[in-house]
Symmetry: none
DNA sequence: CTATAAACGAGACGGTACGTCATGTCTTATT
DNA sequence: AATAAGACATGACGTACCGTCTCGTTTATAG
């Protein structure tokens, strides 16, 4: 039944991913080396390469699990939900294994189609879930109108996701300033109400 | 007067920076090497290290000049100005020397205080200028109210900058989808009017 | 009677040895690998190691069979017999599986007592047989005197063997020049009559 | 005048060669590694590869100097000179850096034209010198006749060299028995007088 | 007009990581 | 038990860059 040959030890995978995260915390992306990860995991370099094709793939998997923890508890209103997701995402990006690695991976992915899809599937889509869920809830609450055209709805969701994730990421990593309660509140207000003064509308 | 010894050839600096950009276009950040840049510039490695302390500093300078070209022609309205700046910024990020390099540098800067300031001074602040200028113009047009508290005004400008730059950057590089006229228009609408339906306000 | 468990397939041994010789021909001693031999023989690496302790032992056995083919047809005189054995030995050493492997094995054997004995038993003694046989015949023909002391006789046989085998080996592999009819004839003349001009003797 | 660039430290060469010999003594040819030699010599692996293309070339040079020490003091007669050279050569082959390495190199050279010439030039020809010199002296003493045809003379010298070097090499390394005074004497007698009993000649 | 001092090219140098390969052992399921 | 398959720890391979160094050469100012 089982395939021939000695099977891979399954615990090894998670040991390696944990070692990778530890190395990211200690050394950062640019100083992370395969040899070091192997040493930390108590594993041979060949075992690493048997399971991942290189640094990038390895780090994607190591970081991806962090993004699994994102959740969207129902806080009762769209604004509160947005604030919740912003704070959660910011907390994640603030971790040295996550934020910097994500940037570096995305930078690398601009020249690597396969990596781009891997990142999207393992990391980005797991964030976008929250946006979709939040919009669903807001509609049930009547805070957002129903959009009959599913394509237009998707476009809007994408846009909102880019705005939220982009703003937090830029604030936290590019501007390198804290995403605290105050910033989160004003950002959420901007997102919901827009920049124009109330009277300027319509 | 002048210090003794042979003076540095000033053209060399720009030759090296041009070579750096060429290498970024051809190889990308992760495969760019000092030796290769030296070869391209027709310069010895020692000359490179005499003028820059390493890869990161070199690339910051090489990329910074690209961000000097950003301009904000007056298009007559806040919305039009925002669209203009979004498209300009997107065009810049789409260039392989600029977008990916910026991400990689920022990733690296999370563990390097000096680099962070260098990036801020040479790259980020040059973008933020446009936001400040745009807000000034909008006020003169009456599209934005005057904010008496300069600190609050600064916070808002920072927020708007993070939202605009972050959204474009996320769309272009993380989501890896085009920042075209359509997206720009809907993004600008969202920025100005917010997510909530008109009636939900107040 | 028979031990429990599945018995070893006997054909496997010769398949492996043939694969080893093929690998020696194609790759040579230094590039021969156990994995490659296993692959060629259609056999798992474990099977190899169950039957031989390593590369050296395996190659000794693989090469030894070649030395079994050496024969000494009676050509009617000591000189003719010497020429016959020289040409046969030279033909063997010229084969890429044999000559170079023998040298490499002997080189290795200088640090490995067990290997030394294995080579002696499986390879060297099979050559020496011919010398002993040739001397026997020469005595029957009256070309060589009887030596009453068996120990002295053995010493002389050893010496003659070292001279013949050594000269051919050195010519073929160290000097890397052909052991052809001409060389063989002059060598045999030297062996039988010596270097000194006839008159210089006694 | 001098070529541009930092010149190579000349002492490094001999340090590396000494380290190579030390490694050969300690580990033997088959366990000698470039990394280990580099470590012993206090030198980076890259420095090794900058100066030698690989293990074989390195060992040829490391071993060659040993063969420079061979000399042929005039002992008054051809027989005595032969015995002298045999003992010297045997002493050399008995050294673990020399004998086994030579065999291994020659084994490798059967598949490498360049290595073959390198060995010939650096090692073999230095031995052959002694034979040529010895024959010269023997002629002056009247022990050998003058050979008018230089080509025939060369062939004979080659033959004698193969016989002497081959016999000693085979005795010492293949048969693995001592080349002592007794053996040397009987070998020399065989070389000079031949195998046939005196009466069998003519 | 000659010191002297720095810039500059070339390339050697000690390191370190790369990704691959072979070793010999082991763990499976199958025969 | 032997076998095929293949995972595994180990460690060398030869290459590539790193950032530093040591040369000879060139180009400026200062004495």
């Amino acid at each position: 039944m089982g395939r021939p040959g000695r099977p891979r030890r399954p615990e090894t995978d998670s040991a390696i991913l944990a070692a990778t995260r530890a190395a990211l915390v200690e050394l950062g992306w640019s100083k992370l080396t395969m040899s070091d990860v192997a040493k930390r995991a108590g594993v041979a370099k060949t075992t690493l390469y048997r399971r991942w094709s290189g640094r990038c793939d390895l780090v994607v998997d190591a970081v991806a699990v962090l993004f699994d923890d994102l959740e969207l508890p129902d806080r009762g209103s769209l604004a509160a939900d947005v604030e919740g997701v912003v704070l959660q995402f910011a907390a994640l990006l603030a971790r040295p294994e996550a934020g910097a690695s994500l940037l570096a991976l995305v930078a690398e992915s601009t020249r690597d189609q396969a990596l781009r899809q891997r990142i999207r599937h393992s990391i980005v889509d797991r964030q976008k879930r929250l946006v979709l869920l939040g919009r669903e809830r807001a509609r049930l609450r009547g805070e957002l109108p129903y959009e009959p055209d599913p394509e237009a709805d998707g476009r809007t969701a994408d846009l909102v996701f880019d705005v939220i994730a982009g703003a937090v990421l830029h604030r936290a990593l590019v501007s390198a300033r804290p995403v605290d309660e105050g910033w989160t509140r004003t950002f959420t207000a901007l997102l919901l109400d827009g920049l124009s003064p109330t009277g300027a509308r319509g």
